[in-house]
Assembly symmetry: C2
Homo-oligomer: 626 residues x 2
């Protein structure tokens, strides 16, 4: 964590200095703004936290609810999401309070007495094999609390406008603020009043019944299956020995997906309520909690639950829907989008795969830096078209996965030939539910794969997978990826060649007037304001003198012109670190340049010599600084 950069500060270093609009933020919604976020769910709150890093951008987030979410529905947190939390500064804290999924156990009918269930398989959770972060369970309300803190502590000082409902919008053909939005106050002094605000852009994260989606005429396609589930968060005493382990339970009485929750006591159970007759007309949703608990006890036989408190419960029929496009522009319309959909507003599905909140947050992460870049003049508005192009296929993939997982979970024992089949499927598909299968295709923000073999462990379009390296300046082991914060900057990792000569030449070019730094960094801004350039040497940290590396790796920034000591890393193992990132990520010993987007996805892999290609890549996505 770097601070004291503008001079000594006392107090919490996690609270950044307010800047620009954050210095004097009006209490009430202004008449005109840059971005209006609708809905303070995971996508919307992440977007607010991200845009708080662009304090020049006037962002507001409206939420119909009168205040903070108290009881959240979602709770499954992929390692990919924890990586994202790290970039927003709160991974450690949320890991400490969450339930950490170490195992998943599978229960099936006892062949000797099928009225009883027995444990058939213990399966290690896969998370720590594909990320440095675990797979967690924690209440959505807490995730939102942390993002709210990040939004409020960022330079933009963004706080939600609670008690404000989205009514409708009209996108006009012209004007600086072409989106006319009708809102209604539903709480506080002005409750009942309607008014209009004008925005440059609107991001709708307003849930499965999204009015923003309706307003732009998008269709939510798909349907509801004929299968119902009860879900309950309960505090119990029980003789079921796996109460604190995630389990898939298949019994002759039905199925349960069992998820321990944060805090050491609470658990969530998804209880199979079976097929729903066609003429049910959602009557199944009225199933009383007593009946759900009774059914859970039948499934768990010979074990039983003594329920002490039901914190929350619901009944739902599994739906799978995805919106045809995630913005307001049809292909070939010839203008750039103004309205975007995120989260449940554009993809809804069952809760059981623990995916929804995670995919929604990545929607917000994908959109945030793009809006920030366009609104600060760094990037052309065409960048915004990549949002739907990148996220809609991910949502489709999610729906397909969830449909398969849901139906596997809902099988009757007589449909299961191999009791380990579910465990095998679970492990075989681990990369998807961890959040690491997302791979964005080539576009202006993902380069081509011509040089992929130089960095096989950093696949283009996939998230940058961190690995430990040594910070040369202090000899401490750090996660290279954790030095990237969600601050809207591009990361350029220059991995050195054997003797460092090609790296020197590259650094010399990067420091020259031809480089992307010179071309895209605004006059008067810090030299690393747009590009955070880091060097990783193959040598040991004690073979590198951090005061004599090329100047581009030790920029002097801020009002005091202080040298940055945290741009230079060493790969060779030390007493504190047995991993060499070159081996771990398949990096060429001739060196390689890896460009990473502000949302942590790999954008380009190039040889150190390919300076023209590097320049050409950025020419496609950035505008020369004014």
């Amino acid at each position: 964590m770097q601070f004291h950069h503008h001079g000594y500060v006392s107090g919490d270093p996690r609270v950044q200095d307010a800047a620009a609009i954050g210095l004097d933020r009006p209490d009430d919604l202004p008449d005109e703004l840059d971005v209006l976020v609708v809905g303070s769910g995971p996508a919307g709150m992440l977007l607010a936290a991200q845009l708080s890093q662009y304090p020049e951008v006037a962002t507001r987030i409206i939420e119909r609810r009168e205040g903070r979410l108290v009881l959240g529905q979602a709770d499954g947190i992929q390692p990919r999401s924890v990586e994202t939390f790290q970039a927003f500064g709160f991974a450690d804290r949320i890991v400490a309070e969450a339930y950490n999924i170490g195992w998943m156990n599978f229960w099936n009918p006892d062949p000797e007495d099928p009225r009883n269930i027995i444990r058939t398989t213990r399966t290690e959770d896969y998370a720590l094999k594909i990320s440095e972060f675990p797979h967690l369970i924690v209440n959505q309300a807490r995730v939102l609390d942390y993002f709210a803190e990040a939004a409020a502590h960022g330079p933009g000082r963004i706080v939600p406008d609670y008690g404000v409902e989205f009514v409708g919008l009209t996108v006009h053909d012209e004007g600086d603020h072409p989106v006319e939005v009708r809102i209604r106050y539903v709480a506080g002094d002005r409750a009942g009043q309607e008014r209009t605000v004008r925005a440059r852009y609107v991001a709708g994260g307003d849930g499965a019944r999204s009015r923003v989606r309706d307003a732009i005429g998008r269709k939510h396609l798909g349907g509801i299956s004929a299968h119902a589930w009860g879900v309950m968060d309960v505090l119990v005493n029980t003789d079921f020995p796996d109460w604190r382990i995630k389990c898939a339970i298949a019994s002759t009485a039905g199925n349960i997906l069992h998820i321990p929750r944060e805090g050491g006591y609470l658990c969530r159970m998804y209880i199979d309520l079976g097929e729903v007759p066609e003429d049910d007309h959602h009557r199944v949703r009225q199933t009383p909690i007593e009946q759900i608990i009774r059914h859970a006890n039948e499934i768990l036989h010979p074990y039983s639950l003594d329920v002490k408190q039901v914190a929350w419960h619901s009944v739902y029929e599994v739906g799978h829907r995805v919106t045809d496009k995630f913005d307001d522009v049809d292909v070939g319309e010839g203008h750039d989008p103004r309205v975007f959909l995120m989260g449940d507003a554009c993809h809804t599905h069952s809760a059981k795969a623990g995916q929804g909140m995670n995919v929604s947050m990545q929607d917000g992460f994908n959109l945030g830096w793009k809006l920030g870049s366009v609104l600060t003049g760094r990037s052309p508005a065409a960048l915004l078209s990549t949002y739907s192009a990148e996220r809609q296929p991910v949502a489709q993939q999610l729906i397909d996965f969830d449909r398969e997982w849901s139906s596997l979970m809902a099988r009757k024992p007589d449909q299961i030939s191999d009791p380990t089949e579910l465990a095998t499927y679970y492990l075989g598909t681990a990369e998807f539910p961890s959040g690491f299968m997302t791979q964005y295709g080539p576009s202006i923000v993902v380069g081509d794969a011509a040089h992929q073999e130089l960095a096989s462990g950093f696949p283009l379009g996939k998230r940058f997978h961190s690995a430990p390296v040594t910070l040369v300046a202090d000899g401490n082991v750090v996660q290279l990826g954790h030095h990237a914060r969600a601050d809207g900057r591009w990361r350029i990792y220059a991995f050195g060649d054997r003797d460092g000569s090609a790296l020197d030449a590259w650094a010399s070019w990067m420091g020259s007037h031809e480089s992307p730094i010179a071309r895209y960094t605004p006059a008067g801004a810090d030299v690393d304001a747009v590009f955070d350039v880091k060097a990783i040497y193959q040598q040991g940290y004690d073979e590198i003198d951090p005061t004599t590396v090329p100047a581009v790796f030790r920029p002097e920034t801020g009002p005091l012109g202080l040298r940055d000591w945290e741009k230079v890393f060493a790969a060779a193992p030390t007493v504190w670190n047995d991993v060499d990132i070159f081996d771990e990520r398949g990096l060429s010993r001739d060196g390689v340049v890896v460009v990473v987007r502000p949302d942590q996805y790999v954008a380009a892999v190039l040889p150190l010599s390919a300076t023209d290609e590097l320049a050409a890549f950025f020419a496609g996505v950035l505008l020369p600084a004014r």
Copy 2:
């Protein structure tokens, strides 16, 4: 982290429910209180945080300053202190923002050209070899912020009374509140007013010029050496390659102890200003900062500093003083102490060994649970005499160590025969500056060592050294010691025998009417309110059924009578943990009981069969519950 135990709660689980006095805490100081803490430094604030866990105890903390400390002097944090932070719930957060000392480098004159310094030795820091926590550098002000948060979020809701000065006190012979304390308001509406409050106990953490010490007539013995040091916290640009690594620099021009600080830029330098003439009369303390910087540059030659900002600086002459006794009762006076001294009020020394704040915090940790136990009627007042008996020798040890380290650091090059000598001393004494040499002698709170060989890695009177184990209920690896919070409870770790039969017998006794649980737990309190009893089996977690272990290891507590799932651990290595605590800590495979005090020090080591001895130990320190 356990929560939802009293039913589902929304919001931050780190904020505990207010209770007792914390429910309706008066804004102003009451006329009568249980404990008055004087001074909000590291000892006082830890004490406040600890007593916030005893909400029945009326505790106030007064501080002359008008508010939060902005710029702190101390910054060195031993691993032992980080362990303590863990018990108060903020280790992860402070580690994330602190500087982590991974190495210490030694610089000496270049034999080829003694006008220049060269690096002669790189030394790994020892911290991670003797604790699971690192050695840190972070501003005292931040440590106090975190303790203030712990005090405010504990059930007692303690916040400092700022702007209130201690004037004097009188200890009367009788009355429930025998300590009459005169105070003066020095800020706010009542500034200038004096008044009297009556306390049962007073803890003086009011610094080197302690008025509490004067008021009880204690002598601060020792003196000032004839050697002066300049100290400065600076933001610089420099070509000195070890700017971000802790260094001891011995040059022909003098000596520097160089300490990188939190945040990636700031460093602290202790610069040797040489011998002070006898007739100097502290004029050396007026040395201007420009002269200190010039001298630093001379020492660093051929490197140099371009100082951009001086955040803080001072000049001091090394003093070494320790108070003869840390309470108000002379040996043989026949009554129990009422007034205690902590921190700089009873031990002052040079800052360079990075010890002061750490030893002060352990003063507060030692005193806190003893006051809490006596004031809640759990323990006899005689317990309070152990405070001075335990802490005064630690302070003396500190003074001796610091005197030796200071004079080694102040040597001239011609006094140094072996340039690696300082590095050798540094490593050889590592246990002391890490905070782990403290070993309390036998007393009513440390049993005898008759059975020490059953747990050689848990020496009696030393801090309980955590190790990883598997939580049986969920199969996750946890640090056994981290399940102990600073909540005033005694921990009893029952390490199982090979087949568990002796453990079963012990558990059966612990669950019986003869056991300490039955004898000392107040009626109506949770069964684990006084004793937190945990079992550690030799087997793998998957061989233990947490629902069928002896009842004492799965208590049902709280208003819902919920079973606690976090009392049963397994030692056998798993895919997530290659450490077996029995091997790691030299534990007998016949089983062993390890009793740990509320301040984390090992109090008793006994065979599972020695139930009489266990009962006898507690009979010495606890009072039967009313």
